[in-house]
Subunit: 343 residues, 2 copies
C-alpha cells in the first residue's frame, strides 16, 4: 500500500508521508507559465490537460507523497449553476444567495455534465503518475465542505467575519438548511465521481468552520461531514477521507466523530495537543506555518522539527496548517522536504 494510504489506515509510517496544501500554485514558476496562457482561473480548472499538468508539476519537482487534484472548492457551486468569477487581487466573486428562489435555482441535475472535465483531469493525473514513474504517489480528490461553500455563496465572496451567512443560519434556519442539504448531497455525488475517476483518497476543506458557534458547528460542520463520510464509505469502502475543519480548536474532538480517517490541523493549533485529544487510529495531518516556509532557514527548521518530534510514532501526514503562499521560495520547499525525509 502507498505510504500516504498506510498512514490514513492508521499506521505510524516514518518518515511521515508529506504533501503541502496548494502545492500546485503561484510559488512555482512552471505554474505561473501555464497560468499566463489561460484566460481565467475557471478555464484552467476545466481544461483537463492544463489542470493535470499543474497537478503533476510539484510531484515532478519534489516527489510529494500525494498529488491533489488542481481545482477550486467553488467549482461545485459553479457546477450547480451559481455564478463564479475570479477577479485579479480580489478573490472569488459570486452572486449573493439570499432567498428560497436562489436555492431553488441550483440545479444538481447538471452537475455531472459540468464537472466532466474535472473528472477527466482526475483520470489524466492518475495515468500521468503511473506513466511518469510516481508509483508511490497517492492522488487526493477534494471538495469544499458544505458550510464553507455556503459561506462564499451567501456572502458573494470572501468576508472578514461572514456575518451574512451566520445571520442566515440564525434568522432563517430553514432556508439555510435547504441550502446545506443541496450542497451536502451534491458534495457526495461530486466526491464519489472523483473516486470513480481515480481519486484514491478524499479531502473535505472546511476553511471557515471556526467562525461558527458550537451549536452551529455541530449542525453545519459536523452533521454534513458525518453524512458525507457515511455515504462515501458505503459507496467506496476503503477510500479514506481527510477532514479539515480549520480553526475548530477544542471542537476538533467532536469533529473526529464524523468518521473521517484523518483530521487536518491548522497552523494555530498545538498539533500534539490535538493529537492527544483524538482516538489513536485517527491520523493527524499538518500543520507547519506557511510563513515559516517563506522565512526558511533556522525558523523553518525549528518549527518543522517541533512537529516531527511531536508526531513520531503516530499515524501522521506532514503538511502545512494552511495553503502555501505565493511568495514562498521554491528552494525552501526543497529544504523542508529534506528535513521531513530525514525524519
Amino acid at each position: 500500500m502507498k505510504r500516504l494510504l498506510r498512514a490514513l489506515s492508521g499506521e505510524a509510517v516514518w518518515p511521515p508521508p508529506v504533501w503541502l496544501m496548494r502545492q500546485a500554485g503561484r510559488y512555482l514558476p512552471e505554474y505561473r507559465a501555464v497560468r499566463a496562457g489561460v484566460k481565467d482561473f475557471v478555464a484552467l480548472c476545466t481544461t483537463p490537460e492544463l489542470a493535470a499538468e499543474v497537478t503533476l508539476q510539484p510531484i515532478r519537482r519534489y516527489g510529494f507523497d500525494a498529488a491533489i487534484l488542481f481545482s477550486d472548492i467553488l467549482m461545485l457551486p459553479w457546477a450547480l449553476g451559481h455564478g463564479l468569477e475570479f477577479k485579479e487581487g480580489e478573490g472569488p466573486v459570486l452572486p449573493k444567495l439570499r432567498d428560497e428562489a436562489a436555492v431553488a435555482a441550483l440545479d444538481p441535475a447538471r452537475v455531472a455534465e459540468k464537472v466532466a472535465p474535472i473528472m477527466e483531469t482526475v483520470r489524466l493525473v492518475r495515468s500521468g503518475l503511473v506513466r511518469e514513474g510516481f508509483a508511490e504517489t497517492t492522488l487526493i480528490g477534494f471538495a469544499g465542505a458544505p458550510f464553507t461553500v455556503a459561506c462564499y455563496m451567501v456572502e458573494g465572496g470572501g468576508s472578514k467575519d461572514f456575518a451574512a451567512v451566520r445571520g442566515m443560519a440564525y434568522s432563517r434556519p430553514e432556508l439555510f438548511q435547504q441550502l446545506m442539504n443541496v450542497l451536502t448531497d451534491a458534495t457526495i455525488e461530486y466526491l464519489s465521481a472523483q473516486v470513480i475517476a481515480g481519486a484514491e483518497a478524499l479531502m473535505l476543506f472546511d476553511s471557515w468552520a471556526g467562525v461558527l458557534s458550537p451549536s452551529l458547528f455541530r449542525a453545519h460542520v459536523i452533521a454534513p461531514a458525518a453524512r458525507i463520510v457515511a455515504a462515501l464509505k458505503e459507496r467506496h469502502p476503503g477510500v479514506p477521507l481527510i477532514g479539515f475543519p480549520r480553526l475548530a480548536g477544542v471542537m476538533t474532538l467532536d469533529y473526529a466523530a464524523t468518521g473521517v480517517d484523518a483530521v487536518g490541523v491548522d497552523t494555530g493549533s498545538d498539533i500534539a495537543a490535538v493529537a492527544a485529544m483524538l482516538p489513536a487510529h485517527v491520523a493527524v495531518q499538518g500543520n507547519l506555518d506557511p510563513l515559516a516556509v517563506v522565512a526558511g532557514g533556522k525558523a523553518m527548521e525549528a518549527e518543522a522539527m517541533g512537529i516531527l518530534n511531536a508526531m513520531r510514532g503516530r499515524p501522521f501526514i506532514f503538511n502545512l496548517g494552511h495553503g502555501i503562499v505565493p511568495q514562498t521560495p521554491p528552494e525552501h520547499v526543497a529544504a523542508l522536504l529534506e528535513l521531513v525525509r530525514a525524519g
Copy 2:
C-alpha cells in the same frame, strides 16, 4: 465585593455578572449622537467628558455589571508616537513598522503625558458610576496585548492573514522581540496608570493570538501576558486581570498559566470544553455569538441558554465571544439581559 469582582475572585456568582464587549458603540443611538459631534475617533478617545459619557451610556440603559473604559487598543502605540488614523469604513491606518529605526522612534517617555486624558476618563467614569447610583458596577480598564498591537503596527492596519508580522517574527526575531519588549513594558505602565486612576479590573485583548503557530504563541502571547500579569499583581495586589487570547483553541490551557484571573472565550469555542480544561478557580468569560444577538428571538435564546446551562456552578462572566456589531437592535440586548438575569 461587587458581583463581577466576586466572579473574578473565583466565586460562582449566580445569576452571573454580565457585560458585552463593545457595549458602548455604534448600535446605540445615544452613542451615534455623541460620535456625530466629534471630528475623529482619536478625538473621542482623548476627550475625557465625551469618552466618559459614552462609557456610561450602556450602563444607564442596561445596568451592566461592568463598565469598560471607552478607548481603543491602538491608543497605546499612538501614545508611543506611532501614527494612527481611523478612516471611515477602512478601520485603523498606521505607518508600517518594519525596521530598527521605527522601533527606536517609539518613545515610552511621552506615554504618561499623552494618555493623561484617558486617565481622566477613568476618573470621570468611576465617579460617574457612584454619582449615578451604579454602586455594583465594576470599572474595567484595558489594553491591547503586545502581539495584537504589534500586528497593527507592522501591517499598518488590519490584515487578512497578518503575513508581515508573522514573517517578521520568523525572519527577524531580534527586531520583533525588541518591539514586543517595548510594547510589553509600555502596556504594564499603561494598565498600572489605569488602576491608579480608578480601574478595578483589567482586560488584555489579544484579538489575533490565534494566527500564531504554537511556538510563536508561547513566545509572543503567553510570555508577555505572564510578564504583564506578574508586574501588575506586584504593583496592585487584588486587582484582577482577564486575558482574552482570541482563537487560542487548544492553547487556552497554556494561556491560563500566565496567572490571569479569568480567560475570555471566543465565539467559536465550546465554552464547556474550555472551562473543563482550565483550573476550577480561573473564571471564564464569554461567549455568545454577536450574530445571535442580531438575530434575537429563539436563536439568541437557545444560544444564550446553552452557555448559561453549561456554566452554572462555575466562576463565570456572561459576555459575547466577540464585540457587539453595529447592526444589533438595542432591544435584543435588553431581551438578552432578561434571560441572563433569570439565570
